[in-house]
Symmetry: C2
Subunit: 301 residues, 2 copies
């Protein structure tokens, strides 16, 4: 019944959360933002924060959640689906529980052995990709830049292989908690020093990441790089190292589809270009809501 | 005149400082510890802290300092000597200035283009190596693990080439400011997971450092590694990536001499062994004081 609230959809990631009140067709009636899982880790406040963000929304409407909220640092620990994981099967292995007057369902993540033969995990990206594919995209290599950047191969409508590069979180830890950037160094951007960082990472990966990093400092000390360029160079090193790791997948797939925010997607597109690859960008903002609505329909079928 | 204070020697690094009151022969009469440069960065408090740590020591005795204290984030910015930099020439390019009733001299650092063709810098390690060589060690490859680990080739009594791996600081930023370790995860140590980290870094360097890192998390989430092993695994990844970058120098030199604290030197020795190289460790604790005394004699000659 359009116009009447049918469910709440939540994309609750490591650093942010987005909440939608949806009608029966999955169309949003209201949208809100909240904290990510990381600042709430270990506080036991997830239910409380859920209630704060959804204040005023109907109390008995069920909720469907995806993302880090289902990880061991989240609200409830929910399992993982192994690869190949069909994108139309987002509701399997989900966990439901009662919270106040509602049933809350957290979707399962996806797991695989990755390119370094270690276990890898995703939570939320599988829901976003389900939405992307439901909106008409096909098989191929998807890159989802963010806190924990994912390189994902979709074949036959299923996630078959993927690996995670912790690039966003690594950049934040280095930028905020080492001597590499001066206070107020600003945000990274495109330009000569971003490109130089990418090229250094692609060319000199064997030198070790911590060796690449130290040049961010030495160039500033010797006046070979403006302090205001250091964030861009550091970003180039981090993203360049990430793209270096994805080159085998890129060569195999021919091209990558970037799903995510425009600025970060542009940085990845440039780094992929410098690595000799090609990419195109699509907006992924609405995709996760589409994916949550798909899972909701599967759950309530 | 033994027994009478002749100079103050200071090794003032990024994270720690050591102060000695020395007689004319360079023998320590008293020793104290203080803060490193990093916590004092931008505060303008270096002179004040110097006076606090040296309180009670003779007020007119001159001081000779080495380390980060001469960097752009230190007390005064002092230049660098280019490679090849003779280890017996530690006083050249030093900067002297008046502080209260004393003359303070900060020794110059050393600079070179490194293995990724970027400018590289050291401050303090050149003084420590001068002391090491004065104590009887010869030419060869030296590795000085620490906040900013140095790989240094000494040939003909001079530093001819070196590169820096920011491993210590990188480990700290990752361990303290990402989701990889649980609170109270403990200190890294030797063992299976340290070795596995080293091997992963040596074998899968091309996958990108941020991809290696994410496995610290996934293994804990899936119960494939105890939370108490995560610090050792992370340490193995960081040190393994560092040793991977040093492999060309190791192959050239045949073996490495490790100079530094016992625990960290043991970690590097193990990683070098896993990389197929050999090393031996020497205590470097007294070496920097020997190097400062050498520079002092050169200054007062």
């Amino acid at each position: 019944m359009p116009g009447q609230a049918a469910f709440i959809a939540v994309d609750w990631g490591t650093t942010n959360s987005r909440f939608w009140l949806c009608d029966g067709a999955g169309a949003p009636l209201d949208a809100r933002h909240g904290q990510g899982v990381a600042p709430l880790r270990g506080t036991g406040r997830f239910g409380e924060v859920f209630d704060e963000v959804t204040a005023g929304w109907p109390e008995s409407v069920p909720a469907v959640l995806c993302g880090t909220i289902g990880a061991n640092i989240g609200w409830r620990q929910v399992g993982y689906r192994p690869c190949p994981a069909a994108l139309t099967d987002g509701a399997s292995n989900a966990l439901s529980f009662v919270h106040g007057a509602r049933i809350v369902t957290i979707l399962a993540g996806v797991t695989a052995r990755n390119l370094i033969d270690e276990p890898d995990l995703m939570r939320g990206e599988e829901t976003q990709l389900a939405g992307v594919v439901a909106a008409g995209e096909g098989d191929g290599l998807y890159v989802l830049p963010g806190t924990h950047n994912k390189w994902v191969l979709v074949e036959g409508g299923a996630i078959t292989r993927f690996h995670t590069s912790m690039s966003g979180e690594l950049y934040g830890a280095i930028a905020g908690h080492t001597i590499l950037l001066v206070p107020g160094a600003g945000e990274p951007g495109a330009g000569t020093m971003f490109d130089h960082g990418v090229r250094n990472a692609l060319r000199h990966g064997a030198a070790g990441f911590a060796t690449l990093l130290f040049s961010v400092r030495t160039r500033q000390v010797l006046g070979e790089m403006a302090e205001s360029d250091a964030a861009s160079y550091l970003s180039g090193l981090v993203i360049g190292a990430d793209v270096a790791g994805g080159q085998a997948m890129l060569a195999e797939a021919g091209s990558a589809t970037l799903v995510g925010g425009a600025a970060l997607a542009a940085s990845y597109a440039r780094a992929i270009e410098l690595a000799g690859g090609t990419s195109r960008s699509i907006a992924g903002d609405a995709a996760v809501l589409t994916g949550l609505a798909l899972a909701w329909r599967q759950l309530s079928a």
